[in-house]
């Protein structure tokens, strides 16, 4: 579903991604962990081209993301409409929710189907209602984001992403900005998505969640993959001392 080959990204002199390779299978829950500044979020943002990459390739469902091959195999930036089309196939959930504050929950959710997919309004609303119910916000349908708790906002953001009927969902530290008592409700929604067989790439610090839900966990440090394994092996017997060290620090 997602294939990353030798991905490099620099911010000026800072080399934040140093040759990442990974493959996410259809229906897989792929969790990325690692210390802050390790490049996890940047990697995730490269997957749907919110961040441009300097070298390497990101393939989504067999399609190159953000670039196209010019004559001679050189990569050139893809047309904006094409980038947008590929992006729309991946839902993204952000640390800071990023709901549209001038729109109600329902309006947030139907925005993509209405404007990007140009679907009929009644149809979009009916579909949106189902997603809003799925994230447990049916009593908040016509409420503005500013009147919602962080957990509710993040669930609304998940519904907004789902409404595009994406082939995969990207989560960028979805619970890091939440009060501790609100983390559970968001993780619960994510678990139901995983159970539904959604392909998910999740950057998170929630190790218990990763252990329970992930099919594979990838540990990153300093812009590179440290190790990639099943959660059982990663959490019980990490192969790399840096992983062991990181887990010791976050679990206690």
């Amino acid at each position: 579903m997602i294939r990353v080959t030798n991905l490099h990204k620099r911010f000026g002199a800072l080399h934040v991604l140093r040759g990442i390779d990974l493959k996410v299978e259809r229906g897989e829950v792929f969790v990325i962990i690692g210390p802050s500044g390790s490049g996890k979020s940047t990697l995730l943002r490269c997957l749907n081209f919110l961040e441009e990459y300097d070298q390497g390739e990101v393939l989504f469902d067999g399609e190159l993301v953000g670039y196209r091959k010019a004559n001679g195999g050189k990569l050139v930036r893809d047309r904006a409409a094409n980038i947008a089309r590929v992006r729309a196939q991946m839902g993204m959930v952000f640390q800071s929710f990023n709901l549209f504050p001038h729109k109600t929950v329902l309006e947030n959710v139907i925005e993509g189907p209405l404007i990007v997919q140009r679907r009929n309004r009644a149809e979009a609303i009916a579909a949106a209602a189902a997603f809003i119910k799925k994230v447990g916000l049916d009593d908040k349908t016509h409420v503005y984001p500013s009147k919602l708790s962080g957990g509710q906002q993040q669930r609304a953001a998940i519904a907004r992403a789902l409404a595009m009927q994406p082939k995969a969902m990207l989560f960028d530290e979805p619970t890091s900005a939440l009060d501790p008592e609100l983390v559970g409700e968001v993780l619960a929604v994510m678990k139901t998505l995983a159970a539904d067989g959604m392909t998910m790439v999740i950057v998170t610090h929630e190790m218990a969640f990763a252990r329970e839900v992930a099919d594979r966990v990838m540990m990153m440090d300093e812009g590179a993959v440290v190790e990639l394994d099943t959660p059982e092996r990663m959490f019980n017997a990490p192969a790399h001392p840096r992983t062991a060290d990181f887990l010791r620090r976050v679990l206690h």
Partner: protein, 221 residues
């Protein structure tokens, strides 16, 4: 100082003020439309990451902000025809001139409003597959416009007042009508006082409306 006011003069010649106010309104609406549309384009060009768009917009804005509007008007009316053979009437010249002038200021208001929108909003819009224009019209501008309202009204009030410069090109707006009236009645005190009041009556409702609008949006978000 025993001046006796004769405001009955104003009442007798009220049609002159109505006529002047009509032209003033016409100049304002016309130049506002030009200013807002062109300003919107310039503002977006100036916040673009493409130098090809940003450069000309920046030049335009700085040039128009650095030259007196009166000079711009007379240049448009007297010099442009010599260079191009295009002679606009005096009303059109003032409308276009004030529009071009206001565009520079509106552009800065738009740019500041656009730049004030959180980057996360852009990320979210892009992530649901929006292209630039959809993101601008649906997400960025509706939010930015609310922040632009106070400076926008400010500039709008300035624009109404600037229409009095039309008198220099013999446009029969309020000031020019007033001057003519004074020539006929020898009542400058009453006429200029009425003129000031007329402007206040025209401008204040807009200020009031904007304040109401601002409050309404504050409540909603």
């Amino acid at each position: 100082m025993g001046y006796t006011w004769h405001f009955n003069v104003i009442w007798d010649y009220r049609i002159v003020f109505v006529r002047g106010a009509t032209i003033t309104a016409q100049l304002t609406v016309g130049s506002l439309l030009i200013g807002v549309l062109l300003g919107l384009i310039l503002g977006m060009m100036r916040s673009s990451h493409l130098k090809l768009l940003r450069g000309p917009a920046t030049f335009y804005i700085e040039f128009f902000r650095a030259t007196p509007v009166l000079v711009q008007l007379v240049w448009l009316y007297y010099s442009l025809p010599i260079l191009t053979g295009v002679q606009m009437g005096n009303v059109a010249s003032v409308t276009v001139g004030l529009g071009l002038h206001a565009a520079a200021y509106f552009a800065e208001i738009f740019r500041a409003g656009i730049n004030s929108i959180d980057r996360g909003q852009l990320d979210a819009a892009k992530s649901i597959g929006m292209i630039y224009w959809q993101m601008m019209w649906r997400i960025v501008l509706p939010q930015a416009v609310r922040r632009m309202i106070p400076p926008f009204i400010n500039e709008f009030a300035t624009l109404i007042k600037l229409t009095t410069l039309g008198s220099v090109l013999a446009v029969y707006e309020l000031l020019h009508e007033s001057n003519n009236l004074i020539n006929n009645t020898y009542r400058p005190l009453e006429v200029y006082t009425a003129l000031a009041v007329a402007f206040a009556v025209i401008i204040y409702p807009f200020i009031y409306l904007s304040q109401r609008l601002e409050r309404y949006w504050q409540v909603r978000s």
